[in-house]
């Protein structure tokens, strides 16, 4: 997939992963990699950005004697997903244009 296009989709994929349940870094990579390739190093800046934009929030849980950071989707993040899905017809219009259908 084109790098720029992928960059735009990755954030929403991460948000969508957190829609059903809270998750942690490695698990998010495993779940998201089923749909779109994401590396360990790519995920971290995305999580930082989403947290700064208050679309996710983090908390730590003890796991096997160490702390594991979990991420939770906030209402702002849910709104971001809804907006992305609402804008998809516009994206499809551009796709059709590029394809030559319109």
């Amino acid at each position: 997939m084109n790098a720029q296009l992928k960059k735009g989709l990755l954030e929403f994929c991460v948000l969508a992963t957190l829609r059903t349940e809270d998750s942690y870094g490695y698990q998010i990579i495993k779940d998201t990699s089923n749909v779109i390739g994401i590396s360990d190093s790519t995920l971290y800046p995305i999580l930082k950005r989403l947290e700064k934009q208050q679309q996710i929030e983090s908390y730590s849980v003890e796991h096997n004697g160490r702390l594991r950071k979990y991420f939770h989707l906030t209402p702002v993040g849910q709104e971001a997903i809804a907006q992305f899905l609402a804008e998809w017809p516009e994206v499809m219009q551009v796709y059709d244009y590029i394809k030559g259908v319109i």
Partner: protein, 197 residues
């Protein structure tokens, strides 16, 4: 490279690249490595699959917000310099007054430990000298005068030691306080970067 070496190298690279939030970044990678170890991967495989610490730091430093600073127009700068030079008799004397007031403030604050130190030295030296003179007085003028002199010398020594303690503790406290006050005053004149994007 093992996990500890990787994390140490990453910490170094992040510091060199001036990436903020280093602690969270290191926690993320440490947690990631631990999770993959729990999943059954070997440490060497995990480290080999990650980007190098330098690449990670470069990626994160690219994510830093862009800081834009407005450049002053040349004519505006010339006008500012002219106003500063022409107004120097006024602002110069005001600045000097402000500096003197701050200096007086520091002087008054440090007066207490300084006076305590002077009393301490006087008390200890005076008490010491008086102690020896008490012996001579006792021999020459009788035990009554001698013991009175001795008592006075002990009292002086005691006051001197008390003042020495006061000078020491107040001095230690005021050093910390003076340093923080000076840092606070200087911070008011330090420019800060404004994050734009």
């Amino acid at each position: 490279m093992n996990k500890i070496q990787f994390i140490k190298a990453l910490a170094t690279e992040l510091a060199q690249a001036q990436v903020r939030d280093t602690a969270n970044t290191l926690d993320y990678y440490e947690e990631l490595i631990d999770d993959r170890l729990e999943d059954g991967e070997s440490e060497l495989t995990i480290i080999a699959s990650l980007e190098s610490p330098r690449q990670i730091a470069a990626r994160l430093s690219d994510e830093r917000p862009i800081i834009r600073q407005r450049k002053t127009a040349p004519m505006t700068l010339a006008l500012i310099i002219m106003v500063v030079v022409l107004g120097s008799p006024l602002w110069g004397s005001l600045l000097l007054t402000a500096i003197l007031l701050i200096a007086v403030g520091y002087f008054l604050i440090w007066l207490v430990p300084a006076l305590a130190a002077i009393f301490a030295i006087s008390g200890i030296v005076g008490g010491g000298v008086s102690f020896f003179l008490a012996i001579i007085a006792g021999v020459r003028q009788g035990w009554l005068i001698g013991s009175m002199q001795f008592g006075l010398s002990i009292a002086m020594l005691g006051v001197g030691l008390l003042c020495a303690g006061l000078a020491w503790y107040s001095g230690c406290y005021l050093v910390k306080w003076s340093v923080s006050l000076t840092r606070w005053l200087l911070s008011k004149f330090k420019a800060r970067d404004k994050e734009v994007a």
